[in-house]
């Protein structure tokens, strides 16, 4: 049966370019039977024979390679699946292997491809869990970072940047161990919740025995059809004063680290903030607005008419009272003079078993050049913030997100080169 041409096809090592023909848009679940290729992909080994390129043709595709990781200045998607992992390995080499293995897999995920092409052996589980089959890349971005505890576990504290430390205790914090800290984070954001979850699920699976999930949180963000800033579950616009993701100078000042192995990376602060929706919902609109210092409908600061109208926090009315109440969230945040790039998502995770209240709130995520920027704002909010009455911080973590990856390199290479 087999002709010489077939032989050639079977035994030939399939190039990446050929592979793209099979796995590109339109080809659904093509089973590659070539033994040359099957041997390279060792079942779950995920051996990738060359670095994988960003697809030029995929729909809704965010590029992986670049100066910075995706998911930081990428336009905010509608869904997040955020995972904080513990490492189970204790050697630097084993950890390096995890990042080396993940790198091409992340490119594939962001291309909207399967983690591993199907093999003809149906007696083993598939290398990709499959639930993203038929869905496009959905603007998936993956952001990977390392937490302070990782450096202690691996005995490489000499490489831990001074800035990378657990956040201090803030007034009214009620942090729970099960939502706090972690050695590695994977922030998966996409315009489809299943695509985001699939990415985390498969990356964790690919590193089975080397990492385990410590905590995770799904979240959502909804954008008005007419455009504009999304609203959080308190119905107020969230993220108005963010630096523009196109303003390179501003981003350099606020977001990007400019020294050491983290150069081109950024610090991610994650806070799981429960919002007491029941008490909020029985608060008058006037009090709600005074809590934020902004009008709910327009998002404008007190005394202004439009969302982006600049305001002077110290402005007072004719009676000498602050126009924007000095206990309001926006007043206190602005007073701190510190800035960061916020990329938060709302969550609704069922019911609090002890109270029967909604288990809902905000997965606050911010990127900054130095975690102190977050600390400064949070300290300024302090005990004064009227918002404290309606929220409780339940979880906290800080991660150093690696710089971007160039083709042929891998996530965190600068860190491992510094070892």
């Amino acid at each position: 049966m087999t002709t010489s041409n077939d032989e050639k096809w079977i035994n030939k090592k399939i190039s990446r370019r050929d592979m793209l023909k099979f796995t590109g848009i339109g080809a659904v679940g093509v089973a590659i039977g070539a033994s040359g290729f099957g041997g390279v992909i060792k079942a779950m080994g995920y051996d990738v024979f060359e670095s994988v390129a960003d697809s030029k043709t995929a729909f809704n595709k965010v590029d992986f390679y670049g100066r910075h990781q995706s998911g930081i200045i990428t336009p905010v998607q509608t869904h997040i699946y955020f995972a904080s992992l513990n490492v189970l390995v204790s050697s630097k080499k084993d950890l390096q292997e995890v990042f080396k293995k993940w790198t091409p897999l992340i490119v594939r995920l962001m291309n909207g491809e399967l983690m591993v092409d199907l093999t003809p052996n149906t007696r083993v589980p598939t290398g990709d869990t499959g639930e993203a089959e038929g869905l496009n890349a959905s603007n998936l971005s993956i952001t990977v970072g390392v937490g302070p505890s990782l450096f202690d576990k691996l005995g490489i504290t000499n490489l831990k940047p001074a800035e990378l430390a657990d956040l201090p205790h803030f007034p009214k914090d009620q942090l729970q161990e099960e939502f706090t800290g972690g050695d590695i984070c994977i922030q998966a954001c996409a315009d489809d919740p299943q695509v985001a979850f699939h990415a985390v699920r498969n990356l964790v699976r690919a590193a089975s025995g080397k990492v385990e999930i410590k905590w995770s949180q799904a979240g959502f963000n909804s954008f008005p059809a007419a455009g504009g800033t999304p609203r959080n579950l308190f119905a107020f616009k969230d993220g108005t004063v963010n630096p523009a993701i196109t303003d390179e100078k501003d981003l350099k000042e606020v977001v990007w680290v400019d020294k050491g192995w983290l150069k081109g990376g950024s610090y991610l602060v994650a806070r799981k903030i429960q919002m007491h929706l029941e008490t909020w919902d029985r608060t008058s609109l006037k009090d709600q607005e005074a809590t934020f210092g902004r009008y709910r409908d327009s998002g404008a600061a007190f005394g202004k008419t439009k969302e982006f109208d600049d305001f002077d926090v110290d402005a007072k009315d004719e009676k000498g009272a602050y126009i924007m109440p000095d206990t309001s969230h926006v007043h206190l945040a602005r007073k701190s003079n510190a800035r960061m790039l916020r990329r938060s998502y709302s969550y609704a995770s069922g019911v609090m078993t002890n109270t029967g209240a909604h288990d809902a709130g905000l997965l606050f995520v911010s990127f900054q050049k130095n975690p102190d920027q977050f600390t400064t704002v949070q300290n300024s909010l302090g005990r004064m913030d009227k918002m404290n009455e309606y929220i409780t911080h339940r979880g906290s973590a800080v991660f150093a997100c690696f710089p971007g990856v160039q083709k042929g390199s891998y996530l965190g290479e600068a860190l491992f080169n510094a070892l």
């Binding site: 049966m1 050639k8 039977g33 079942a43 003809p120 052996n121 149906t122 007696r123 083993v124 025995g209």
Partner: protein, 289 residues
């Protein structure tokens, strides 16, 4: 049957590929067929026989221990029956991939109250039979009275199972999926304490399931070694990790502590170790490539 449906999928795949502008004119259908044919060629005769011998031996012991348990139970020896309960069940749990291949015998012998369809039915009803109903009698009711017929039925079912397994045909699939199924049993019901809700002897079943999976791995070891040495090393490590964790909960007499004595941290560690074993274990199918 399976073979042909697989083939037709591949042909459909070939049609799709043709639209992708492959420059080389090749018959794309024949390559996967060659691969599939190879799957059928691997000779596992010795391994299949070894596993059948193991399963038959376990079933012999299961019948002997069940006879002993039923004898104690019917004599009204509550403490004696309690002591015999968990060890007897281990023979069944070790060879569950075989034992459960006989339709309703598995639920008749091993059905839990939660497995009975109608909520609330079962405790006094005829449709709930087997070990777990006697577990209920011993630990919950602290009696054997009124449950004699169930004990008789259990012995009759054990005998029937013993007779049936003599005829069973062990296939590569049964072994390979059986090993993973044993771990899945642990992950879904043993680790949650939902298997032995009255006696809390879940760790005995846990250990037996792991031993059953480990046996399959041992039998396939040389074949696996030829395919992927690293996988064998990983499996050795991961089995050891689970066994070491279980050993922490052994009692002086070689048994296990009650599930109720485990802390959340204990069960989480056990569960993680089983999951980390399950991932590489699910790759044993590569020997059929």
């Amino acid at each position: 049957m399976k073979y042909y449906s697989f083939l037709s999928v591949l042909i459909a795949g070939g049609i799709l590929m043709a639209g992708c502008g492959n420059a080389e004119k090749v018959n794309k259908d024949s390559a996967p067929v060659t691969e599939q044919a190879k799957l059928e060629e691997v000779d596992l005769t010795a391994e299949l026989t070894a596993y059948k011998d193991f399963a038959l031996d376990q079933m012999d012991q299961f019948l002997i221990e069940t006879e002993n348990f039923v004898k104690l139970f019917k004599a009204g020896d509550i403490e004696g029956a309690k002591a015999a309960y968990a060890p007897a069940r281990m023979y069944f749990e070790r060879s569950e991939p075989i034992a459960e291949s006989f339709g309703d015998l598995d639920p008749r012998i091993d059905g839990r109250l939660a497995d009975i369809q109608e909520e609330g039915k079962g405790k006094g009803e005829e449709e709930w039979t087997g070990y777990h109903k006697l577990e209920y009698a011993l630990w919950e009711e602290n009696t054997t009275a009124g449950y004699e017929a169930i004990a008789d039925q259990l012995l009759a079912d054990a005998k029937e199972l013993h007779a049936l397994v003599q005829t069973v045909e062990v296939t590569p699939d049964l072994m390979i999926t059986g090993a993973v199924d044993l771990l899945n049993e642990v992950s879904t019901s043993k680790i949650t304490g939902e298997e032995e809700i009255y006696s809390h002897t879940d760790l005995y079943d846990f250990k037996a399931n792991i031993e059953g999976a480990e046996k399959i791995f041992e039998i396939l070891r040389s074949k696996l070694d030829a395919k992927d040495k690293e996988l064998v090393t990983t499996l050795d490590e991961k089995f050891k990790a689970v066994d070491d964790l279980l050993a922490l909960h052994e009692t002086a007499n070689g048994g296990y502590i009650s599930y109720e004595e485990l802390t959340g941290e204990n069960t989480k560690a056990l569960s993680a170790a089983v999951n980390q074993l399950g991932e590489p274990l699910s790759q044993m199918g590569i020997i059929l490539e």
